[in-house]
């Protein structure tokens, strides 16, 4: 177990470091000068450019910039935004909340609904209901999230006028307390529905496959032969097997939801990380982009380890194969 954990952590650290290097190389090799964009004039004076270049350390050799960057990161300093001058960590933190709210709600809903449908469908494998549910999930799996979002806006906001299309709160109303929470909930309805619908197929497919596989196991046949009631077989043996892989998917999904929800956030002008990434890109705000990427790689790496540990704690077989590998 110890070897397994330390191996995973080592891989994660390697991964974060690799992500850092890649990130640094890509951003610094990119054409386009952030200082010129910052100054914003067609013919800025050379003095201003020089002063700004020195201020942000862009005159130093690349490797010096890299080591300085890594050193600062280790001290918890992610630098300041070239554009606004605010600390990057603060800016990201402010945007994390809305994204987490959106992503977490959608992930939990999708897990519950998707697993329920998967088990339902797996129990009736090969039947008409099973293939009907399967076809619908195929459809949602193939649907681009941004398109689904636009269609929902078209139906619920533009035609029926029952839900807001953009933002997180109604700026004009200026609600407080409970009313504010209600307002956020109303604004969440469409983006959460969009995300949930696109995520459900994953959970469904996996839990369905797990149920089908569990049903094929010999011990189920034995239990049946021994006369155990069908409902008890499902409750105690089949469902447990079906829920296990779902948890893994949930963890992995959580890590990627920060990026996965980005495009849906943009469709609904949700004030989260998604639109933030786009602004950072268009402003060529290097420290901000690198900060976002760093946070993202860390969250993916941490989630992966958490999933592995959780999984190995629940299923001893994984532990052994993990060590052998």
């Amino acid at each position: 177990m110890g070897i397994f954990i330390s191996r995973r952590i080592l891989t994660a650290i390697l991964c974060i470091f690799a992500a850092l290097c890649l990130n640094f190389i890509i951003i610094h090799a990119a054409p386009g000068d952030p200082v010129r964009i910052l100054v914003g004039q067609d013919n800025p004076s050379p003095e201003v450019i020089e002063a700004l270049t020195i201020k942000y350390g862009l005159d130093q050799p690349q490797y010096v910039q890299f080591f300085r960057y890594v050193g600062n990161l280790l001290r918890g300093d992610m630098g300041t935004s070239i554009y606004t001058g605010e600390p990057v960590s603060l800016m990201i933190l402010r945007r994390m909340g809305p994204t987490a709210l959106l992503a977490l709600t959608a992930a939990v809903l999708a897990m519950v609904i998707g697993t329920a449908f998967g088990i339902f469908s797996g129990r009736r494998v090969g039947s008409k209901v099973d293939s009907a549910i399967g076809s619908i999930s195929y459809l949602f799996d193939a649907m681009p999230g941004f398109w689904l979002g636009l269609m929902l806006i078209l139906i619920f906001a533009s035609s029926l006028h029952i839900l807001p299309t953009a933002g997180m709160v109604d700026v004009r109303a200026d609600h407080e307390g409970f009313l504010r929470a209600l307002d956020i909930l109303r604004h969440m309805a469409l983006p959460v529905t969009t995300l949930t619908l696109t995520l459900i197929p994953y959970y469904m497919r996996i839990s369905r496959a797990a149920v089908v596989q569990a049903l094929g196991e010999d011990f189920i046949t034995t239990l049946r032969a021994a006369g155990m009631p069908e409902s008890k077989i499902y409750r105690t043996y089949v469902f447990r097997n079906a829920i296990l892989p779902t948890i893994t998917v949930f963890g992995i999904q959580m890590a990627y939801l920060v990026t996965g929800s980005a495009i849906v956030e943009i469709v609904f002008s949700w004030p989260g990380m998604g639109s933030f990434v786009m602004t950072a890109i268009s402003r060529r705000d290097y420290p901000l982009l690198m900060g976002i990427y760093f946070i993202l790689s860390i969250s993916v790496a941490v989630m992966m380890i958490a999933v592995d540990l959780l999984y190995s704690a629940m299923d001893p077989r994984i532990r052994h194969t993990g060590v052998k590998e």
Partner: protein
Amino acid sequence: MKRVAAVKKMRERLRHLPQLRIGGIMLAFLLFVVIFAPLLAPYDPYALSDNMVEAPNFRHPLGTDGLGRDVLSMLIYGARTSLMVGGAAALIAAVIGVFLGGVAGFFGKKIGSVIGEAINVFMMMPTFFLILIVVALFGSGITKVMLVIGLTTWVGNAKLMRAQAMSLRERVFVRAAESVGESKLSILFWHIIPNGIYPIVANTTMGVASAILTESSLAFLGLGDPNVISWGQIIQSGKSYLVDGWWICAFGGLSIIYTVITFYLLGDGLNIMLSPKLASVQNAGKRT
């Protein structure tokens, strides 16, 4: 004689795999559209006209967009872009994945574990964000988009190929080739890869679908190639006319869904056909 039996067996399998049959028909239609695009499109997809945001009618079966372009013609030409990007990106990912995975699985402990670890590391990278940054910063020509998607999505293929190579290297025919003195590289290319490539074929088919989705997302974010018509771009341009011209977005999305489902079905079918184990799991379920 043997050939006839093989064909018969193939047919028998196809009968049990509606995914492959339906997917094949859908793909045939798609290829037909792509090949005969200039004959099928009623208008020049780039031609602007004064009939802006016109609802579907006899002259424009799927309406016109904000610049007066015929939506149907744009969709027909967009199919070319999608299939080209999807196919090329998936192929690049397949080649890299097969090669790296094969080397990692077949070559001894040292090289194998180094590449294996690299695969693990790459697996944890947030791919879409990486693609987004690269395309945004380096420009978004269609070739670049294909390359970037291909270069970042090979990991799944590499994992599959690695597992295949690891089990194949213990097989008798590989051992035999080794003892005869064939070089490692030639064994890799002549024995390991040809015998282990099946799961990658299925995975690559799925990869076409996800590359098409990625390309359309990029185009929707305004990061696509502005000189080439693509479905994501049509949806992006239609976003501003969502209320008055729903058809621009709606049909663009439906085209994406159709194509992605085509490749999902094919991938699914190939997966079951090429790995008997999966088929038996399915049948095991059916018995109950």
